[in-house]
């Protein structure tokens, strides 16, 4: 088989290719389900019910999608500028640490101010954390993939130190957790008796903001130009360094807000398991969305649904819920492969 470049990409292909890839991913995982000895149709039905089958299922899926939207946006914005921020996980914890610092009694404001303040300090913490590797990248050409990735562990271990040491809540009966966020800072539930909270709306709002910023602002334009062709952008006089720094602040800020969202919306206090790898999954979310900020909403909900649904399926059919990982991973790989077929035409022989 050989590939030839397409002169024109038909519009329908842009949509059918990723959808087809996801269908293929489900087909592939059907084989694994069969292998595990469970009926495919019923398993997938259980997955669907677990993800969207009831008010509870839907709210759980959206609850899980909220931090994924934030980290997905963080990756999408950075990758647009070809800034490979793999450190959303660390930035998420940095945001949560900052929110814990300010939100556990240091400052008390009415909720209308307190919540934006928490998001702000979380964003600043996440942004500043990403600034460090980006300055190293700009000044010394240190590869940011390595530095952002390794910073994750540093931040996590720092949080570890704080939670086992100075920040340990004496009321927590020995558990490594910090003091709870004050009531004014808590994100209210959206549906009575469900865990879905205001953070989801914040995530939606920031997705729209990120989209508008990238599309309509001068800085967003510069981010796109630098991402697509840094040489041409530099030649035209667009400041590469400043653009990358802005991107870093935005990307790190969005990841930091994921931490605030989880802390103030779901847990209420900082623990070490506040994120089951949302920072890393955010990369998959962004890639699946083709780095489009509004697409991130859909892909975050999709991935959240798969994880939630897989839990339900695993309970109903006694299949390992690791299938969710396999499913998202194959979907991601196939979507990336489908991009190839959008840009090139396969020819046999």
């Amino acid at each position: 088989m050989r590939l030839e470049p397409r002169a024109h990409v038909p519009f329908w292909l842009n949509i059918t290719a990723p959808v087809g890839a996801i269908v293929l991913a489900f087909a592939f995982c059907a084989l694994l389900i069969l292998w595990a000895g469970a009926p495919v149709i019923e398993s997938y039905a259980a997955l669907l019910r677990g993800a969207f089958g009831s008010t509870f299922a839907i709210t759980e899926t959206l609850t899980r999608a909220a931090p994924l939207i934030f980290t997905g946006l963080a990756a999408a914005v950075a990758f647009r500028a070809k800034l490979w921020n793999i450190g959303a996980e660390g930035q998420l914890y940095a945001g949560a640490l900052a929110a814990t610092y300010f939100g556990t009694g240091l400052i008390t404001l009415p909720p209308l101010l307190m919540i934006p303040l928490l998001f702000l300090v979380g964003a600043i913490a996440g942004g500043l954390l990403l600034l460090l590797p980006v300055i190293l990248k700009l000044k010394l050409r240190v590869d940011e993939v390595v530095t952002t990735l390794l910073l994750n562990f540093i931040v996590l271990l720092f949080a570890n130190y704080l939670l086992f040491g100075p920040w340990k809540d004496p009321m927590a009966m020995g558990w490594p957790q910090a003091a709870p966020i004050i009531d004014e800072g808590v994100l209210e539930p959206l549906v009575p008796r469900m865990r879905l909270h205001q953070g989801f709306l914040w995530a939606l709002a920031f997705a729209v903001f990120a989209w508008a910023f990238i599309r309509y602002s001068k800085w967003g334009f510069q981010i796109r130009a630098v991402g697509h062709n840094p040489d041409a952008a530099a030649f035209a006089g667009i400041p590469i360094g400043a653009t990358v720094l802005r991107t870093a602040l935005l990307s790190g800020g969005l990841a930091g807000m994921a931490g605030v969202c989880e802390l103030a919306g779901l847990k209420g206090y900082l623990t070490l398991d506040i994120s089951p790898g949302f920072g890393y999954t955010g990369i998959a979310v962004a890639m699946l969305a083709g780095l489009h900020p509004l697409g991130v909403i859909a892909s975050a909900i999709f991935i959240a649904a798969i994880y939630n649904g897989a839990d339900a399926m695993s309970r109903a059919m006694s299949i390992s819920n690791y299938l969710a990982d396999v499913l998202t991973a194959t979907a991601l790989l196939l979507v990336l492969a489908s991009v190839l077929f959008v840009r090139f035409r396969p020819r046999l022989r």
């Binding site: 002169a7 334009f221 062709n229 952008a233 530099a234 030649f235 035209a236 035409r345």
Partner: protein, 558 residues
């Protein structure tokens, strides 16, 4: 390689292992070139060496090749003439097996060629010299030539034989090059010779040369043409791809003209004229803009003793003196890599001179950046449209504001003014005749000429006082090149001084007011175009003649 079935027979077999060759079975080490030639000429005239039958190739809605039928006779040079995008390269890619034709087939020496296999094409005796060379820079000439013809795992055994054979070929065809040298130390002309030797070594009887003169100095072009004539005299056949009429007239026996994927004309060169060729190629008569004399304006750019040193301490520009006035086009000739890049970098705001004075509009340039240069009224047309000129994935309207995206005209309170930008794009598309584009077209989809017009629109609409035009018409078809030149003339009439860097001497002689040659970072004394001639300029381009530093000359006396 193709000799696998023969257990890695020495390449000597290859030259003679064509199917019609009676010597095939008996080929030994002693087989000489003249024997092969006899074998080839024995079949000359009996049948075409190459026959393309109804080749059709579509890319989506675009038909790149539309039922093209061509024959190449033994011992002739066939020029394949056509504008960019006419389908020349596609056709040759099909011939060499890089692409598979949708319809039609190819016969080489009477045998049908399997589609889509470069290996089969090589086995059939077809050799291709690409426009961009495919040599390993870190290998010697010998290694590059032999690479791929020897079995992978065998110990190096045939070096002496290969060396002898290369020496034979080189001497026979006048392709002088030292086989022990590393390719990275070779000049462009020498590299091309290595490419040709490589094809011959693999037994090519049909040689395809894709725009072989684009990178050569005039003298090198003549040497190349002499070599090509020797080859066809020996019975080889050559397809010569070009869009330069003079060269086609000089070297070809026959010419086939492609336009928009169709074969529109095919005639012997003997009865053709340049005008006839141009018309066939473009489809209409093209009028090149005429240079009208203009009264010189004030000095806009001055460089005195400017030296720029490269990374390895080698001077890129060596005490350069130059003076540019308004309403003047100063043509900078020279083979690329002789300091053009450094000169362009100075004017683009990418670097400062290491020593010497650099003045723009009477002010010394002390700090530099692209924005600084824009602020001083320098319009910059970069050498490589795709790499540094436009952001291909952005739309036309976005590329038009790439430099001015922060100006209050297009941006208020950090937000882009979409309406203004859209209107600006419509106006530019209209004024600069950017075809096939609306404001939201992805720039990558434009042809080279229209992409260049986008850059010109962006640059010229700022009314620059000094314009750097670095290879502005390279790779453009005749019509687009004429438009670009016309726009440069227009800017000149409005008072701009233009530095035009080009490798195309003909263009420089046609467009410039004065011409100077850049050779190893030194500039020759600029001469008025009326006093310039190809011969002298050609000699200067290869370093023969007087350059500023030797004479201690200062710019020019305008």
């Amino acid at each position: 390689m193709t000799t696998v079935d023969k257990g890695g027979a020495p390449p000597c077999n290859r030259l003679s292992s064509l199917r019609y060759d009676p010597a095939d079975a008996t080929c030994g080490e002693t087989m000489s070139i003249s024997e092969v030639d006899e074998a080839a000429s024995g079949s000359a005239g009996a049948q075409p060496v190459l026959r393309l039958q109804d080749i059709t190739k579509r890319f989506g809605a675009l038909t790149a090749n539309d039922a093209i039928s061509l024959e190449l006779k033994s011992g002739e040079i066939l020029a394949l003439l056509g504008e960019n995008g006419a389908g020349k390269t596609t056709l040759m890619s099909i011939l060499f097996g890089h692409y598979v034709a949708d319809e039609g087939h190819i016969e080489a020496f009477g045998q049908r060629l399997p589609a889509g296999s470069p290996r089969a094409a090589i086995a059939a005796g077809i050799g291709m010299v690409h426009q961009h060379f495919t040599l390993g820079e870190n290998l010697t000439v010998l290694d590059n030539i032999v690479l791929g013809t020897e079995p992978l795992l065998a110990p190096r055994q045939n070096t002496t034989k290969a060396r002898k054979r290369i020496a034979e070929l080189a001497e026979h065809f006048g392709l002088v090059v030292d086989p022990k040298k590393l390719v990275r130390d070779l000049s462009v002309g020498e590299r091309q010779r290595v490419e040709i030797l490589k094809a011959l070594y693999r037994g090519a009887r049909v040689l395809i040369l894709d725009e072989p003169t684009a990178v050569l100095a005039p003298q090198e072009v003549e040497t190349l043409f002499a070599t090509l004539k020797t080859m066809v005299a020996e019975g080889l056949s050559i397809i010569f791809i070009s869009h330069k009429l003079n060269e086609v007239m000089a070297v070809a026996d026959r010419v086939a003209v492609l336009r928009l994927g169709r074969l529109v004309a095919e005639f012997p060169i003997a009865g053709a004229s340049k005008e006839k060729l141009a018309e066939a190629m473009v489809g209409r008569a093209v009028e090149m803009p005429e240079r009208e004399p203009q009264p010189l304006g004030p000095v806009v750019l001055q460089m005195a003793g400017v030296t720029v040193t490269g990374d390895h301490g080698k001077p890129l520009l060596d005490e350069l003196h130059l003076l540019l006035c308004g309403r003047e086009i100063l043509g900078i000739a020279g083979v690329s890599g002789n300091g053009q890049g450094a000169l362009a970098a100075l004017l683009s705001g990418l670097r400062l001179p290491d020593s010497g004075a650099f003045e723009l509009l009477g002010e010394t340039v002390k700090r530099t950046s692209p924005v600084e240069m824009q602020g001083r009224g320098v319009g910059r047309i970069p050498e490589d449209r795709h790499a540094t000129g436009v952001v291909g994935d952005l739309t036309v309207e976005e590329n038009l504001i790439l430099e001015a995206c922060g100006s209050p005209r297009f941006c208020s309170l950090g937000l882009l003014r979409g309406g203004v930008i859209r209107r600006n794009a419509r106006e530019m598309i209209e004024r600069f005749d950017i075809r096939g584009a609306d404001p939201t077209t992805t720039t990558r989809a434009l042809s080279g000429g229209n992409m260049q017009k986008v850059i010109l629109a962006r640059v010229l609409s700022e009314k620059p006082k000094v314009i750097l035009a670095n290879q502005p018409t390279r790779g453009l078809d005749v019509g687009a090149a004429a438009k670009v030149q016309e726009l440069l003339f227009e800017a000149r009439a409005q008072g701009a001084g233009i530095i035009l860097i080009s490798e195309d001497l003909e263009e420089l002689l046609q467009v410039s007011d004065r011409i100077a040659v850049l050779y190893q970072g030194r500039l020759s004394t600029p001469v008025a175009v009326e006093e310039a001639d190809m011969q002298t300029l050609g000699l200067l381009m290869s370093g023969h003649g007087e350059f500023q530093r030797q004479k201690g000359a200062r710019g020019h006396a305008a």
